[in-house]
């Protein structure tokens, strides 16, 4: 240990009584978000989109849903119902397009209906985004659902993350991929579904394998913003507009399968400050045109 570290250690020793006392006597409050997490884990808010057409009780692999004035959305996933409330800005309408991107010939058979899919728990079950398009048909919003469904985690207080970002833009936290600030000073966060373990914070790597798969869903019942994962889709211009996207990953849990899983979110028609380079960090999975199979690159 070098002398400078010792000097710092000794300086900490001489902290004032008041500062030391603050750690001795203060009783940590049960974080509000913990109570919220409990509530959300039990039952998230559900809002149905009026006038929403799904085309059958089950969400098919190729289904387009269009709503004229979408405010609520309900998606029947077969063993769970996903409901979203979306307040779309003017000029935007909701299209739900579920495009399955198969990765293997077997999945291709499943996606085309040649083979019946019965196992929604398959890790390869990879429902594609729900997309919101504007009046010109350009996609501006993406939501990704996965075949395994379980509420893994509820995001911490957004304001905490926001403060975090303000101080450390681009900080490689567990959930943060990118951040953007629009011209009104609103912050937008982009989350990956992978947990980053930067070596300077986690020299020994992830705590455990389960945490590696953590997916964060933000509670926005009181927050202004939605959870985000930017999904690149279409042209770069369109990608720039995909700042608000909810990446929801659910994992089926035998012990605790909720009857309903719902997310409330707000769509923002906002463009963030973007350097024009997506950096390949997140883009929609590319598909081999010949085989129509997901080639394993990009996105998730």
């Amino acid at each position: 240990m070098n002398e400078r570290e010792w000097a710092l250690f000794e300086a900490v020793t001489d902290l004032s009584d008041e500062t030391v006392r603050s750690a001795l006597t203060a009783e940590p409050k049960c974080p509000k978000r913990t109570l919220r997490k409990i509530a959300i884990a039990a039952c998230l808010a559900v809002v149905l989109l009026a006038g929403f057409m799904i085309g059958g009780n089950h969400f098919g692999w190729f289904t387009e849903i269009k709503a004229d004035n979408p405010s609520e959305l309900e998606i029947d996933l077969g063993y769970s119902v996903l409901k979203c409330n979306m307040d779309l800005p003017d000029g935007y309408e909701l299209h739900i397009q579920r495009e399955y991107l198969p990765r293997t010939p077997e999945e291709k058979a499943l996606s085309s209906g040649e083979k019946e899919r019965t196992d929604y728990r398959s890790p390869d079950c990879n429902p594609p985004p729900i997309q919101i398009v504007n009046s010109e048909g350009k996609r501006v919003f993406g939501v990704v659902f996965y075949g395994k469904f379980k509420i893994l985690e509820v995001l911490a207080d957004f304001n905490e993350e926001k403060e975090h970002l303000e101080q450390h833009p681009g900080c490689p936290t567990a959930i943060l991929e990118k951040n953007a600030i629009d011209k009104n000073g609103n912050h937008y966060l982009f989350y990956r579904n992978d947990y980053e373990y930067p070596p300077e914070i986690y020299p020994e790597g992830p705590v455990n394998d389960i945490e590696r798969d953590y997916q964060y869903v933000v509670d926005i019942t009181e927050s202004k913003y939605a959870a985000f994962t930017a999904i690149g889709y279409g042209s770069e211009e369109e990608v720039r507009m995909l700042y608000d996207a909810l990446n929801i990953r659910f994992e089926k849990d035998d012990e605790n399968i909720p009857e309903e899983i719902t997310i409330r979110l707000t769509v923002h028609k906002q463009l963030g400050e973007w350097d024009g380079n997506w950096d390949g960090d997140w883009r929609w999975p590319s598909v081999d045109e010949e085989t129509a199979l997901y080639d394993g690159t990009g996105g998730d």
């Binding site: 240990m1 400078r4 570290e5 250690f9 000794e10 020793t13 004032s16 030391v20 001795l24």
Partner: protein, 182 residues
């Protein structure tokens, strides 16, 4: 027994003061020593040394923070004395983490004088949200393990790692901009 009564006993050189300290704060003092030294044997020796020092020195400021400081100083002395034979992982880990607050090890500039540096760190902490201040003190003053803090704060340890990392970075910037570390 109230702190004021214990302090009065110490000032009167009444030996029951030591017993009163052990009864009132013994566990806290031992925890701190154990957090830093990692060995029960060393922790006991440390606390004994600290109590002896407390007997010899007039109390300064609030009783418990004063006692804790003595324990910390004794822990450092014990660590330096036994360093070649044994490792105090807790203390070394804390030192390593606090190293984040320092600029490059190659930088020849010395840190500010101890008291001035302490005052600046104190000022920095007072400007932080209460939760972060508490976290910093629990981790770097009391030497508490992340798992212990996480459990009492109802958060996951990894969240604390992130927060501590940010606090250290902020402190480093603060000290650097204040000219206390170049």
């Amino acid at each position: 027994m109230e702190d004021s009564e214990i302090t009065a006993l110490l000032l009167r050189r009444d030996e029951s003061a030591i017993e009163a300290i052990e009864e009132t704060y013994g566990a806290r003092l031992k925890n701190l020593a154990l957090n830093l030294l990692g060995s029960r044997q060393d922790a006991e020796e440390c606390v004994n040394d600290a109590l002896a020092a407390a007997w010899e020195t007039p109390p300064q400021g609030e009783l418990l923070p004063w006692l804790l400081r003595i324990v910390r100083n004794k822990a450092v002395s014990l660590y330096r004395k036994n360093h070649s034979d044994r490792r105090a992982l807790g203390l070394e880990t804390l030192l390593s983490e606090l190293g984040d607050c320092l600029p490059s090890a190659d930088d020849p500039a010395a840190a500010a004088e101890g008291k001035a540096l302490s005052a600046e760190i104190d000022r920095f902490l007072k400007a932080q949200p209460e939760a972060d201040r508490r976290l910093f003190v629990r981790r770097y003053f009391l030497g508490e393990a992340l798992a212990v803090i996480a459990d009492s704060e109802h958060v996951k340890p990894k969240k604390l790692v992130d927060r501590l990392y940010l606090i250290r970075k902020k402190l480093r910037t603060y000290l650097k901009e204040g000219g206390f570390l170049t």
